[in-house]
């Protein structure tokens, strides 16, 4: 208990959306669209009020402390190993609570307009509430176990929302893909969790991240491979984080997840859920920081994903896919920032969280803006847009702000967070990473303005669509305007003052680092301006000139095809097929055998049931004779003999059935039906 009402009642934050989910899903749904969305939004408002109040109290009264204001012992595995459910309050959890409640509330409001008239409208809002509940539970988790549970819940709600248009085959396969890929990655998380609970004998974050535990884990050597428990469990946990945050080898689900409604893409697949991986790594930061291999893995995978996704984004034409790859790239940025941080120089940690926050704002704004555009022209293809600035003035203005923010143009928020990441890379001596990040910043500016120019400037490509385009309803545009405010101004907040690990020496903007970043960003914008501001043949000619490379990039480096090849031609053929064969012929065979034997013994034994009274009498007589024999000559040998005769009969029936089966002459089920 801290004596501060909002912090003490922080468990209300996830509770409200959960109640909203239950109410909307079970009670209010039949009442129609309006009450459903109203209840869902009210739940979010209540949640946001408590969340903001708690964050305010935390940052004014308890800044820098780690509190557990409420905790419940859920599972006691052993005297030392206890699975707790509770609320963990520290700087990053409060930050995430702010981000999640705010963005989620805004997107609830936005969805009112965007989803209007959709037959699944109430369902959509109940799922949104479910997702928010899961995400807040994840953010506030006080133990790895609780986090894992909410982690999976988040996965499920993401699955439900990607597959929201379940009549569309592409949406169905996309949601399956997302679920299977992240679930596969979660296997790593689960293994890491088990390993931690085994070697550290505890599940609470406060316990796991304490220096003593980390040191103890680092000393523990695994019985196999001879490596220490710390890096291995950290990397396993990073597996789960990489799956959720769509890091390089596991990124394939995120672009496909854009099949969901656009508000879902904005909320789940840009602003909140996908940063859960970053959040997990940040949560476990002391563990990662203490182990060189783990932190290097985080850094390299983050850096590679940032570059890789940015390159792909340049060639895409689907507006949401460009944004999806951009999200991948920015997530890579955040991971990279975490990866360059150390316990001594933790600037990267702050930078990562900073970028997470600004990214949540501007990426949500971008997605919502894209949603507004899609709402207006009913297509995702940028080649069919163009010149929309006159039709969608508010969307255009807010979109421009977001583009400037992500491109890193001062004084918009993205500039500050990106600058901090670059500064962190330099501070810790990762010059190669710095150079790479700088390049990615240029690419980001280029593809974002390519998107911007193609959509809002240039010339209308599809005049019919252009003609019918109109500005979105007030409920949508107001959200865009609200989001534009933090997108523009969030960078001015002294972020390092609130969120940090260890002591940060406060520093201003280092223009030696910021200068090149700004230049690169402006260069990207300039190139995009030249190529896409007016319709011209230049982009096509460039694409033609580098057609080989272009095609590879446009097809996303054939990663999907690689996965398909591995699953279809390797796993299905060499793993699943033998298992299938084994299942069909051995497991099912055994079942068939049992059924057959029962049938056969029934068929033979029914002959003894003749319906003649005297037959039964005869059997009774024989039975009494056997009993008399047993009583008269009760010896072990006789008992064994009788046992063996009985077993022999059973074995004989089985053997006979086996022979029949080998000769393919048994079809028990059909015969049962016939009987």
């Amino acid at each position: 208990m801290t004596g501060h009402w909002f912090i003490d009642h922080l468990w209300l934050v996830p509770l409200f959306p959960f109640l909203g989910f239950l109410l909307v899903g079970l009670v209010i749904r039949p009442l129609g669209d309006r009450p459903s969305s109203t209840v869902a939004i009210l739940a979010m408002v209540a949640s946001a009020v408590v969340g903001w109040g708690a964050a305010f109290q935390y940052f004014t009264h308890h800044a820098g402390e780690t509190l557990v204001p409420w905790q419940y012992e859920w599972l006691r595995f052993s005297p030392t190993l206890v699975g707790n459910m509770g609320v963990l309050v520290d700087d990053i959890s409060m930050l995430l609570v702010l981000v999640v409640t705010t963005i989620s509330l805004l997107i609830h409001v936005y969805s009112q307009g965007y989803m209007r008239g959709d037959p699944g409208y109430p369902r959509f809002f109940s799922f949104l509430n479910l997702f928010t509940f899961s995400m807040l539970g994840l953010v506030l988790a006080c133990s790895v176990l609780q986090m894992f549970i909410f982690w999976e819940l988040v996965g499920v709600s993401s699955f439900l929302l990607i597959g929201f248009y379940w009549a569309k085959p592409s949406a169905v396969s996309a949601c399956k893909k997302a679920f299977i890929v992240t679930r596969f990655a979660d296997l790593g998380f689960l293994l890491g969790l088990l390993m931690l609970s085994y070697y550290a004998k505890g599940l609470d974050f406060t316990f796991l991240t304490s220096p003593e535990t980390v040191a103890k884990l680092a000393r523990t050597t695994l019985p196999f491979l001879g490596v220490s428990a710390l890096p291995l469990s950290a990397i396993l946990i990073f597996c789960g984080a990489a799956g959720k945050s769509a890091m390089f080898p596991l990124h394939i689900w995120l672009p496909d997840a854009m099949e969901g409604p656009t508000p879902v893409s904005a909320l789940i697949h840009a602003a909140t859920m996908v940063v859960a991986g970053v959040y997990l790594v940040a949560r476990m930061f002391p563990m990662f920081a203490a182990s060189e291999p783990a932190i290097l893995t985080v850094m390299s995978i983050g850096a590679f994903t940032a570059l890789f996704a940015a390159v792909i984004a340049v060639t895409q034409f689907d507006i949401k896919r460009v944004l999806a790859y951009s999200t991948l790239s920015q997530l890579g940025y955040m991971m990279l920032a975490l990866g360059v941080a150390t316990l001594d120089k933790p600037l990267g940690f702050t930078a990562s969280m900073f970028h997470l926050t600004t990214h949540a704002c501007f990426k949500a704004l971008l997605f919502l803006g894209a949603g507004s555009v899609i709402h207006a022209v009913h297509t995702n293809d940028m080649r069919e847009m163009g010149g929309l600035r006159r039709k969608l003035p508010i969307t255009h203005a807010t979109f421009l702000i977001a583009c400037l923010a992500i491109a890193g143009v001062p004084p918009f928020s993205g500039f500050f967070s990106k600058d901090e990441i670059l500064a962190a890379a330099v501070e810790n001596g990762h010059y190669f990473v710095f150079a790479l990040a700088l390049g990615v910043a240029g690419l980001t500016a280029f593809y974002m303005f390519r998107l911007y120019f193609m959509t809002f400037w240039s010339e209308p490509q599809d005049h019919e669509k252009y003609h019918h385009a109109h500005e979105s309803p007030w409920s949508m545009t107001s959200v865009l305007i609200v989001l534009a405010v933090p997108t523009a101004l969030l960078g001015l907040v002294p972020f390092g003052h609130y969120v940090h690990r260890g002591e940060l020496e406060h520093h201003g903007i280092n223009w030696l680092i910021a200068g090149p970043a700004i230049l690169v960003g402006l260069a990207g914008i300039a190139v995009a301006f030249m190529l896409y501001f007016r319709p011209n043949g230049l982009p096509d000619r460039i694409a033609f000139a580098f057609s080989g490379i272009y095609r590879v990039i446009r097809d996303k480096f054939y990663i999907d095809e690689l996965y398909l090849f591995v699953t279809h031609h390797v796993i299905f053929r060499y793993v699943s097929a033998p298992f299938n064969w084994f299942d069909r012929h051995c497991v099912d065979g055994l079942m068939d055998l049992t059924a057959q034997s029962a049938l056969l013994s029934g068929r033979s034994l029914r002959r003894t049931v003749t319906g003649h009274l005297q037959t039964y009498l005869l059997w009774a007589w024989l039975g009494s004779a056997v009993l008399a024999l047993v009583v008269w000559q009760m010896q072990a040998a006789l008992g064994w003999a009788l046992t063996f005769v009985g077993l022999g009969i059973i074995a004989g029936i089985f053997a006979w059935q086996w022979v029949l089966q080998l000769l393919n002459r048994s079809e028990p089920l059909k015969r049962i039906e016939k009987d």
Binding site: T608, V609, T610, G611, H612, L613, Q614, L617, L618, W621
Partner: protein, 104 residues
């Protein structure tokens, strides 16, 4: 005394029992089967009395049990004959070797 011994009675009752058994398994009429059952029951009752008389004269069980057997036989005969009558009404004969409607 030079009277018959226990063994005489036992062998006699065994023979009676086997005749009853033979009758139960060969007679085709249900009433005839029932009569064979009575033979078997009498053989058993005679054994009780013989054992009582020769081995346990002080124990009244051997004398009481035949009474129970007779009572059970009476009950059995009453119910069985009622069933036979009902059955006869139903199928117009009492041939056990023709009645197999309970065949599995």
């Amino acid at each position: 005394m030079n009277g018959p011994t226990l063994e005489h009675y036992l062998v006699f009752s065994a023979l009676l029992f086997c005749i009853g058994l033979y009758g139960m398994l060969t007679r085709r009429n249900l009433i005839a089967m029932l009569m064979s059952v009575e033979l078997v029951l009498n053989a058993a009752a005679l054994n009780f009395v013989a054992f009582h008389h020769f081995l346990f004269p002080g124990d009244s069980g051997g004398a009481v049990f035949p009474i129970f057997i007779i009572a059970v036989a009476a009950a059995e005969a009453a119910v069985a004959l009622a069933i036979f009558i009902a059955l006869f009404r139903h199928q117009q004969h009492l041939d056990v070797q023709q009645s197999d409607s309970l065949k599995g």
